[in-house]
Symmetry: C2
Subunit: 236 residues, 2 copies
Amino acid sequence: MNVKYLNIYNEIISKIENDKFGTNAKLPSENQMIEEYNVSRDTIRKALNLLEQNGYIQKIQGKGSFVLDINKFNFPVSGLTSFKELTQKMNVECRTFLKELEKIPVDHFLKMQMDLLDDDEVWKVIRVREIGGKKIILDKDYFFTKYVPSLTKEICEDSIYQYLENQVGLKISFAKKEITVQQASDEDKKYLDFENCNIIVVVKNYIYLEDMNLFQYTESRHMPDKFKFESFARRK
Amino acid sequence: MNVKYLNIYNEIISKIENDKFGTNAKLPSENQMIEEYNVSRDTIRKALNLLEQNGYIQKIQGKGSFVLDINKFNFPVSGLTSFKELTQKMNVECRTFLKELEKIPVDHFLKMQMDLLDDDEVWKVIRVREIGGKKIILDKDYFFTKYVPSLTKEICEDSIYQYLENQVGLKISFAKKEITVQQASDEDKKYLDFENCNIIVVVKNYIYLEDMNLFQYTESRHMPDKFKFESFARRK
DNA sequence: AAGTGGTCTAGACCACGCG
DNA sequence: GCGTGGTCTAGACCACTTG
């Protein structure tokens, strides 16, 4: 890409991940970086602010910018990231099983969830995620057909997001997430490796495009003993 | 405060919350705001970027800035916010019961959780939160005595954060959060209104000061049927 | 006093949406 | 073509930390 501050941002991330900043983990000062990258101070500061927001560094006025301990603060699963992107980063062995793929009219349940009145059509995709040999997550995705005209078995088994962003050209922008704990349904028990517990962790995702239109609703249903949600937050 | 972009940020938030931007919910353009507030474009953009990050607005290049539906995206509980601040915003009836308050040496459990070796002392605070007449949350807080020299019953029953930031002058900066689901402990059953379930949702918080030192570890233990975690995320 | 990050300004050019 | 937001620059002054 042609955006300087994003290039610098990514470059610094990879330097942090490869431990290029020495033992005390102090970044060069902004003035040093201005010379190093040959850009203005504002461009450096944009990159540093992004790093700070995302938990990579901490800036302290009068002292400098410091790397936050990578093992403690990296890879929060709290963002808007696809399952494939997550597993690639975390380097775990996992498989995806496509259970259902069909085009259906919006029913009452979806009208409630997606807060709609009209008679749109959606793609319903049900997939099971297996990690370390155990079926742990049941993903139920619903995509508006008006944004996603076609969807195939191959795409669903690989990465739907990659397809939507690169092939279809959708601009996925933001999501509202919601985590609750519920009684497991018959569908959960049918698809997942339940033992003696009948509780399920439900992560609902309402996902919006850049034009603020809802295009996807997702329920990720997790086995409770394998569920872990991490995030990073800053005090306002 | 003397910071222009924060003043503008807060002013726009309150305008959004009071529905001052009309039906289509389009904000004035950046150029209009420059005149309205008599500041430079960069100052306006800082305020707007903050609003966008926190889910208040969506900017669309070539079109403008638009308010995100307040009912859908407001008040995410995912940040670094104290219980008192949350309940004040949400306008619910709740009570806090202080169960334990003592100064203890760091034990093995805390050494593991807080990743420490030395023999520091901590304040241990156990509080029960009652909402709508039901005891729903068990909060176990541990504060380093080196940062928090004194702590009283009155402070614990009001707002510890208010005391720490305003009286002690601590600069609370960021936190790592972790949500898991566990078997309920005897302590959970002793303090909370359990019925037939024996599962508890555990929200762990590791809270750091501006100088990157850990000063607090907190476990918020929630009844699963009352637990709901909401957050807002943007695609990178 | 020197160096660091924090805020603010004024101006330039670019990319996008719309009529 | 115009107005919108996105990026980049150069310079100023302030607040804070450290020696």
